[in-house]
């Protein structure tokens, strides 16, 4: 776009602001930080109630002082307008905190300028106090479907010399400026806030309240309102006793809504940058500023999305070097121009927008370069497609579960879950779901990254129709149960698993279901329960060929059956030893907790209704149960509850905990001896300060994994997100089969691996859909590996020598010696046991078996001096601990 056009637009904004006496001093009005954000899109319009469950589960990311939702791609009939009006008219959503000003505002800001095709007041609950989660009376909301009157638009164009702009662009600008004036008059300039524009754009609406986000769904009765794209936000502002819904997210710009999780360090600088471009914040939060930035890049500068993302989250360091020379040139220019407007993290945006001219809706997530906020993406392909973005995986799970209850074609297990690597040369730290409308208005979703590269979905073309009951052929009913019961010998789990695994490629979904059912039936015999759990767990954890079936659908069957198995176990109230070693406890029966008796060994906790933290969380029940003498635990139906395994104290070697479902943050943080197995992906802050014990993760792990760890043995099937093993000391031993986003083992201080110190083995591989080992493009793509480390080592499987010196900040490469290999081999063998990743496969490169020293590279601290100091044990000195304890 040429600069003249840009300056005409910005000049018009300047005139406007001056006419409104825009105050020069800005101070961020509230501090807020981590928030709960979720966004999802569906190829069919889906009802507002599906935002309810994920929002509720994110309560602990907000404090009930602000919540909001946005919907894009609405259904015209539900709004009482025609498709044509919905597509062509701006949907102006105005919130009246003071209902008396409505007529005044309509007379001044709406009727004089707009042709109104339809308008309505949003329905609402009579008594707001009956809606849980609301703090103050929500505003009355009116929607207006409007176009700018031609004569008004003409004079606007004339006055601001926008003749060279498209008429539609000028109309966008008019709408935007009119809302600015309204907000300035009735919101920003007042102590007592009276009204403000919630959203202004085509086929998009925003609602916000002082309360929790899901209260909106109830209060405005939009449970059944359908839309293609939904986003929701739970806010955690910390200042002020009086809040206004205006400060809640999402924030609107023309045709878009943005929610934000994080907090800018450079709010002031960004507002200055905007001010130089005559853009003036009114709500004084960094989220508003983010929406304004995005709008500036998009609507004023007409940047393609890739450049907008680059301007927000610049590519730096090694990632920049790995860009193509053309991109480097462009990006350098973008950075030079816009670096002052680039929000300095931590932040994570979810943006929904309507690109009416391109006939598509968009949902995207963008993370900052340092990846300081958690983020997960997921995609469910099939007849009905769903794309999801959230700050926590359990919000995704909750959404999918809620959606699948309404539409059985949607599988509660997504085809793929992944993270973005902020500012990277690979995905650019952003993923975009495009909802493209065909001529008939049918929508299909594609997912691409910042560079428009499509996100590969795992194979599998044949879907399971979950809307139908499972039905078995007579032949299957005859053969499968017999086959399983014949082979079902307690302790023989891996053989049974292998048998079923080999049958699955040629089996139907129904037959897989039948096989699982048969295993459950076996479990009813107490002597076979543990074997049955083991078989289903192996089927859940391992990757193997499925033929043309979709892995997510097979997994859904297996997980459902496994849950049934658990739910069928004897309740805690049953004291009959003949009823087996397992006892089931849930939220309702938690007060029945008692000591284990007779042959009871394992407490099975149905985590479903437990609180995410505090006295009512399942982790607290687990501590109580441990104190009563239970030593083996299974937790299933987890919905992101935190602190699993924490608080058991020292010497817990005999304790094992198996977790199914969405495990939560801080899992195993602080453990000293016990073993935790996560049968799926794990979340953030895992294994912090872990002293000893084992963590086995059949999936990915989140941010700051093993921060400050002192020891422990940890096996991760997938990837670790940012900053794993920072400040670790002592002797942690970790195998990560995938890779890490960045900053692996910064300030690692774990002694000398060859004499008991710690190390990390990074394999840089993934298992494909058939369970085959595939090398990742880079075993470690981040720019910082082992920075400032003074002890320990990293063993990276890097046969192609892609790691370069620039990635090491203080470390250096060393040869992998025989002693090194002897050291790490047992851990790789253990890794093989857990995940089936064979050591021989790891050593095979391009079909050839290589020597370990040609496959693995060792990174060691670069500049550690040899220091000899006299050792005096003056801290632990002659403390007769045992005796003292005995005298108590």
């Amino acid at each position: 776009m040429n600069s003249e056009l840009i300056s005409r637009l910005t000049d018009s904004r300047k005139i406007l602001a001056e006419s409104l006496d825009y105050p020069p001093i800005l101070r961020k009005e509230s501090e807020e930080g981590g928030c709960g954000v979720v966004g999802f899109c569906c190829s069919l319009p889906v009802a507002g109630r599906h935002i309810y469950e994920p929002s509720r589960q994110m309560h602990n990311r907000g404090n009930g002082k602000g919540g909001g939702i946005a919907a894009v791609g609405l259904v015209p009939e539900q709004l009482g307008v025609s498709r044509e009006i919905l597509d062509s008219h701006y949907l102006l959503h105005v919130a009246f905190i003071d209902t008396n000003v409505r007529a005044e505002i309509e007379n001044e800001f709406i009727t004089p300028f707009f042709d109104i095709a339809a308008s309505a007041e949003l329905d609402k609950v009579d008594d707001w106090k009956t809606v849980p989660g609301l703090e103050v009376l929500p505003p009355d909301v009116c929607r207006y479907f409007v176009r700018v009157k031609p004569a008004v638009l003409d004079s606007f164009i004339e006055k601001n010399r926008l003749q060279k702009h498209g008429r539609d662009e000028a109309e966008d600008e008019f709408i935007s400026q009119n809302s600015f004036s309204l907000n300035q008059r009735y919101y920003a300039s007042l102590g007592e806030k009276r009204a403000f524009v919630l959203s202004h754009g085509k086929d998009i609406m925003i609602l916000k309240v002082v309360g929790y986000a899901e209260a909106i769904v109830k209060y405005y009765k939009i449970e059944d309102l359908c839309a293609h794209v939904w986003i929701a936000h739970q806010r955690f502002p910390t200042k002020g006793r009086v809040w206004h819904p205006g400060g809640a997210h999402p924030f609107a710009a023309i045709d878009m809504a943005l929610v934000h999780n994080g907090d800018f360090a450079n709010y002031h600088s960004v507002t200055e940058y905007l001010k130089q471009r005559h853009i003036y914040p009114q709500f004084l939060t960094d989220t508003e500023v983010s929406a304004l930035l995005f709008d500036l890049f998009s609507r004023t500068y007409h940047y393609p999305l890739e450049y907008i993302i680059e301007a927000l989250a610049p590519t730096t360091e090694l990632d920049f070097d790995r860009l193509s020379p053309e991109r480097q040139k462009t990006y350098r220019t973008i950075q030079a121009t816009h670096i002052h407007g680039s929000p300095d993290g931590p932040w994570f945006f979810i943006i929904a927008r309507n690109l009416a001219r391109q006939r598509k809706f968009q949902l995207m997530g963008i993370t900052d370069t340092a990846m300081l906020r958690p983020q997960v993406f997921a995609f469910c392909d099939g007849e009905v497609q769903v794309g999801l973005i959230a700050s926590e995986k359990q919000a995704i799970d909750a959404t999918l579960l809620s959606l699948s209850k309404d539409d059985r074609r949607i599988c509660p297990v997504a085809d793929r879950y992944w993270n973005a690597r902020g500012g990277s040369y690979e995905d650019g730290g952003a993923f975009i779901f495009d909802l493209n409308k065909d001529k008939e208005g049918a929508v299909r979703i594609t997912c691409t990254d910042k560079f428009s590269t499509p996100v590969a979905m795992p194979g599998g073309t044949e879907s399971c129709d979950f809307s139908k009951e499972f039905s078995y052929s007579i032949e299957a009913e005859e053969t499968i149960p017999t086959l399983i019961s014949e082979r079902f010998v307690p302790g023989n789990a891996s053989a049974i698993f292998e048998m079923i695994r080999d049958l699955i490629p040629q089996s139907t979904y129904d037959e897989i279901h039948l096989a699982c059912r048969q295993i459950i039936n076996q479990a009813k015999d107490p002597s076979k329960t543990s074997t049955a759990i083991e078989v289903l767990t192996l089927l859940n954890d391992r990757r193997f060929t499925l033929g043309t079936k979709r892995r997510s659908h097979v997994l859904h069957i297996i997980r459902t059956e496994l849950n049934l198995l658990f739910l069928g176990l004897s309740k805690i109230s049953v004291k009959d030893a003949a009823r087996g070693a397992y006892r089931l406890i849930d939220f309702e029966s938690r007060s029945d907790l008692r000591e284990p008796q007779g042959g009871e060994t394992t407490l099975v906790i149905n985590a479903a209704h437990f609180a995410p933290e505090g006295d009512d969380c399942d982790a607290a029940l687990l501590v109580d149960a441990y104190m009563k003498g239970w030593r083996r635990f299974i937790c299933f139906n987890c919905i992101g509850q935190r602190y699993s395994g924490c608080g058991l104290g020292p010497e817990t070697d005999e304790v094992t905990i198996d977790l199914y479902g969405s495990s939560g943050d801080y899992l195993g943080s602080g453990i000293d001896g016990l073993t935790i197995t996560v049968h799926g992906n794990a979340q953030d802050q895992l294994g912090q300060i872990i002293k000893q014990g084992r963590l086995i993760i059949h999936g990915d792990v989140g941010q700051t994994f093993m921060y400050g760890a002192k020891g422990g043995e940890v096996y991760v099937l997938g990837n670790a997100a940012g900053r794993p093993l920072i400040n670790s000391v002592g002797r942690p031993k970790v195998v990560i089969n995938g890779t890490c986003l960045d900053f692996l083992a910064e300030s690692f201080m774990a002694g000398d691996p060859l004499s008991g110190g710690g190390f990390v083995i990074l394999n840089g591989v993934r298992l494909d859909n058939d369970g085959k080992l595939i090398d990742l493009a880079d075993p470690y793509p981040g720019s910082n590996l082992f920075s400032l480390a003074s002890g320990g080592a990293i063993f990276v499987r890097d046969p192609r020598k892609t790691l370069v010196d620039q990635q090491l900040n203080g470390g250096r490469f060393a040869k992998v010696t025989d002693a090194d290999w002897e050291l790490i081999l047992p851990y790789l063998e253990e890794n093989e046991k857990h995940f089936g990743i064979k050591v021989s496969e790891l050593l095979r490169v391009k079909g050839r078996q290589l020597k370990p020293c040609n496959v693995y590279r060792k990174v060691v601290p670069g500049n550690v001096k040899d220091i000899v100091l006299e050792d005096t044990d003056d801290v632990w000195a002659d403390e007769p601990v045992e005796e003292m304890a005995a005298t108590m």
Partner: protein
Amino acid sequence: MASSMEKERRLEDILPENTLKTRVPQEQVERVVRPAPSRYRNEISRYIVHRSQDCRSCGKCLEICSYGVHVHKPGFKYFGEPQHHLCVGPSCEKSGRYCVAHCPTGALQIRENPMYRALGDYRWTADLILATWKMAETGDVPDPAYDYDYECGNSGGGFDRLRFKFPEKPPVELDESEIDTSITLNRRGDGRPQVTIDVPWYGGGMSFGSVSNVTQLSKARACVAFNTFTCTGEGGYMERMRPYDDHVITQVATGLFGVREETIQRVPIVEFKYAQGAKPGLGGHLLGDKNTPAVARMREAVLGISLFSPFPFHSVYSIEDHMKHLDWIKHINRRALVSTKVSTPTDVDMVAVGSYSAGTHIVHIDGGYGGTGAAPDIAKKNIAMPIEYAIGKVHQFLAAEGVRDKVTLIASGGIRTAYDIAKAIALGADGVVIGTAEMVALGCVRCSRCESGRGCPRGIATTDPVLAAKMDIDWGSQRLINLYSAWHKTLKSILRRLGMRSVGELRGRTDLMMHLDYTDEGTTNT
């Protein structure tokens, strides 16, 4: 005691057996003042007494001196080295007991010690250091004859320009035994223990590594005697500290050094250190020299390497992360109170309210005046907001938010005297945390060499076993008990003069103070 039995029983319901197994009998320390003279033969003094060879050992000086400066051991022909530090100087002349004037041969001379001029700095003046030593030695305020100006420093700002406006006569006549100086640390009413400390201060976090084990243990013992707390700092929990578990705060700082579930479970309070007022945004650092084998072992790090604690917590980038972090510790230790220690940025008020809403029991704000020699000079006093501004700001904001009585506000960073404590409370804090003052009581001369710690000339902030052995635990504990006693007396006398029965009444009473920059009265009746 019934109450302590009850406490034990409750512990068993709360903590796993294996944690309780590591509990050792808790040691009691008596709150008794005993003389604890300097461990050096010649303590630094204000005056030097010079005895020339004209002395005939007539004994006149011995007879006339009220302070025991002159030493003549029985059986010796000559006088010994005078106890210079006991000498109050030429002011004796007024009372007619000036030894120099009375010496028949003119053999005595008293002159100011040049070291006195070199000692100290604007914040910790020589008088303040000498007076603190006197308190640590005697357990009481120095005799007025010494004429130490020890209520304030000479920094020209902060607490040094604030004075109390004492009434001529207390509004109520109180006996000091009626005055309550205790404060409660849990005001949330969340079912966790109502921990109360007898004095409105507790000891700041100094890790093993930054100071010696003797220093840490001395601090702990004094805290036991005064039923208050000491803090481990970020360097792990010395096994030798375990007999004092009930008076220890485990610090969880950004490097997570030495933090284990067990060390979190042992104690009644866990402190999160986000930043230090002396060096906000710089994290923590223990330079390689101090990382001796014992330190490296406790932190499980590599010997001799400089150890850095990052800024900030890698797992906490928001208020909601902070809440999660607190919940984690509360989950691990189900009886613990949590304290959040932050520095004082300009928006410290919002940080405090945020911490409160995240569930903290104690908001601990650390201003910019504190810091030992280990904090970089460029940072000290130059980054964080002065604590006297921050206290008021936070106190008023918490009150405006309606949560002031739900949280305990603790201030630190440059609290040197009982007067500073009273001023901090009058500005709005509930209590304070002290650091450097304890080091001074142990003999610190403020030479600012803490970072090259193995060489701490006084063997306090050192991990060198030979240097650390220069101090023993009994002496160290007694010095601190004496200092605490002197402060306790001073604080009570301040409250008595203001006619207050409890230290809580003083909170937020800025009306009782004045700032010398804004008052016509040059001097006051402090």
